[in-house]
Amino acid sequence: MERMLKKQFTFLGGAFAISSLCWCGQIAHAQPVSSSRGVIAGTVQDQKTRELLPGTNIMVEGTTLGAASDIDGRFLIRGVPAGTYRLQASLLGYVSAIAAGVKVVANETTRVDLKLTVSAIEMPEVVVTATKKAQSFMESPVSLSVVSARQIQDQNQVQLDDVLEFTPGVNMMGGQINIRGSSGFSRGAGSRVLLLVDGVPMLPGDSGDIKWDALPPSEIDHVEIVKGASSALYGSYAMGGVVNVITKDPGDRPQTNIRATGGIYDKPYYKDWDWTDRTLTYNNQDISHSRAFGNLKIRASLGRRESTGYSENGHYHRFSGYTKAKYIFSPTSYLTAYANYAHDRHGEALTWLDTNHPFQVSPDATGYVTTSSKLQAGGTFRSLLNSRTTLKLRGSYYRNTIENDLADPRVNPFCQQSGTHIEVLANKGELETQLDLELADGHATTLGAVGIFDFIDATLYGNHNSWDGAAYLQHEWKPNSIISSVGSVRFDYHWVDTGLIEYHLNPKFGLVYTPTSSLSLRASSGRGFRAATMAEMFTCTQAGGFTVIPNPNLSSEIAWSHEVGAQFIAAHFLVNSALFWNEYQDLIEGDFVTKRSRQVIQFQNFNRARIRGAEVEINGALWKRHLNFGVGYTYLDARELERRDSQTGESRKVNDPLAYRARHLLTGNVTLSLGRFSLGADSRYASRIEAVRVYPNDPRVSQKVTNLRFGADFKPLTLMLNIYNVFQYNYTQVERTMEPIRSFALTTALEL
């Protein structure tokens, strides 16, 4: 049966890939616009000094057409199909600009003179996640943080989640990402943040959590983080926010990058905690190559990561292969496709031995190992159908497997499972069609439809499948240059093979007021939801002394997000601030319930909660941008307001701290660059978690982590020294799991 299903899915995956490519090819070569083309010509100049600016990149949005301004600040883009376009202009040291409503007439030249505002600081470029289309960072109707390519490279972390921890408002909790306290911690069963890779959803079909080890960090260009409910465009999971990982594009020139890191863990700060005489180390190697073959551009990489771990059973060995291709059918249509495979074998340390041996596990648990693999494939086809319509087709497939022997050998009386072996196979596929329409000047509409299937076959969950269908509509109205509004609504249909059917209608509204090019005020309000994952509905197991039982009637949780914010550029600073208020209903949590006179864990729609707070993020540059810094502070008031009794189903009013949320989050980074050399530090602070679920009496402390970094750039060779957790701060994020101690890493990178 399983083999048959595997074959079916392999066949379906292949058929999907072939039919998608054929379809894309047919659309791409049936362009109605190729016979009537015009030219866009103009200049780029400094808004204040009127000085003409050479080297500015100008792109025609929705196409592959573009140009760079010449030494006199002039540019010329030929072969543009007649229609109305938006131009994006970006230049280092200036705020990126978008010119909307550029009309191109056949056989004529349209003149556009662009004016850029100088910026004394490093500004995020054009962003694409908040409204599913490109827009200026200053015009985003919701709070959005960008982790730049420089920050990712400087921090030199093994996994992306270690980088995101230093983003304002983001807090990791045992590997689960919290945006403004959205997720809490549920041992990997369900994420309230949606992960996208180049705009394509990338969450597995079983647990719906983010597999950070599956993302090759060397291939990430930058990351956009949307804060607050975004289900009006992105559906389930996006109730707390969206993380969009933008990967590096394959280039025109052949380029090879080699990167190797060797690291060593320090001894624990307290001698009594020293648990081994071995030297604990880690090492990473990455190699990538990019080149173009005519209209086809390809980028491929291989990565390997190995570590002894800093604690007993903390070892891992990972391998990944990744490729991204871009095929340009015509100047107005192209296909971007990718495939990623990651294999991981790691030790399992479910809980420490005791408080005096926090880096050791119980002798019974020594040798616990989990093996997993993730295969992700997908792509986006993009075509300008006519002068006012852009078509985007997205497809993705995610298959993941997990295997270990962590279950207790006793028979689980709730589902008659026995044996220690755990095996999971999960498949998820998604297809999406999106149309961007420029209906009239100042009016832009986006509409789309999505289909999703999940199929799982697991000893933990049994065999189950689910289907989702959705349709969405967004309209953006910009009556003048200082006001823009956006409204969106998405309808979702969710079906599970147990007979569970749910419908959701998620609206969202946003308003942006930009009285000057350096100030924008925004307000937004929207609804989000998250359907229960297969793991939350069907897990039935015994492990680590706990029994988990299924709940097939688990329904979706919902959220309402409201926000007002402001961002402005002042002297050497970019300041972004927000007040937010999120209401959650029917939150899904795993907690102890009594069944057949036994204490077991079950996921239920337990509670109503409210998370409100304030956030401020300041990024700046001093001393002619030799010194760059960023500071972020988030205040969270996360309260559980109602709790449902698992036996009677009745709700009672409470006013308790919501578990696994820190009240204060503070992040800071500073980088001093002098010629070829750079010196920097990244710090983060999270106040002591006020409430936890499993071991409330265990000692807990706040989190105070500082990393130091030194870099030397001798192109094509770059050397880096990183010291992580430099002050040897000992802390846990979730109970009985110690976070990494101090380590030193030396990295060599070569660009050929």
């Binding site: 307290y270 009594d272 700046g620 810094f629 500071v631 500073v670 530090a681 710090s683 000992n730 802390y731």
Partner: protein, 161 residues
């Protein structure tokens, strides 16, 4: 104004770094006892070492000691006026916490022979009256202070009140 802001942010960041480097977060949770030992009088030049010895039950005679031996601490600093100590013990009741002194040239045939009593955890006002302790599970019992008076060093060995 913005220059002041620059300075303020830099100062905050540096303060955060300084505070961070003095705090190491979670600490080992010791099950045992800790306290201060105050030495009175002149240290004999013949002092080889001083250790704490903790007895579950008060030995009735010297012959009971090998049957129910004490838990010894590491050697404590010599020729000081006071020292803080910490000793790991299993949770439970202990009858006698005593400071053992060993002179040079005395051969200790076992952990407890050839030792003299220098002081003990005692009832208030009566330094010769042993005071029992109860070590709680997974906690450090603090304040087990001892006054060691060289003028009342009690030979002969082995250690007994």
């Amino acid at each position: 104004m913005w220059k002041k802001c620059d300075t303020g942010i830099t100062a905050c960041f540096l303060t955060f770094l300084v505070i961070s480097c003095t705090d190491h977060g979670l600490e080992p949770v010791y099950e045992g006892i800790s306290g201060k030992i105050t030495f009175i009088g002149t240290w004999p030049d013949s002092t080889e070492w001083v250790r704490l010895a903790v007895f579950k039950e008060m030995p009735a005679t010297v012959f009971d000691i090998p049957l129910k031996p004490p838990v010894f601490s590491d050697t404590l600093p010599r020729f000081v006026t006071s020292t803080n100590y910490r000793l790991t013990l299993s949770a439970g009741h202990y009858d006698w916490v005593v400071l053992a002194w060993k002179p040079k040239k005395k051969i200790a045939t076992s952990d407890f022979s050839g030792l003299d009593t220098l002081g003990m955890y005692a009832d208030a006002g009566n330094p010769k009256s042993p005071r029992g302790i109860d070590v709680p599970p997974k906690r450090l019992l603090t304040g087990i202070d001892i006054v060691a008076d060289f003028s009342v060093l009690q030979p002969p060995s082995p250690i007994l009140p």
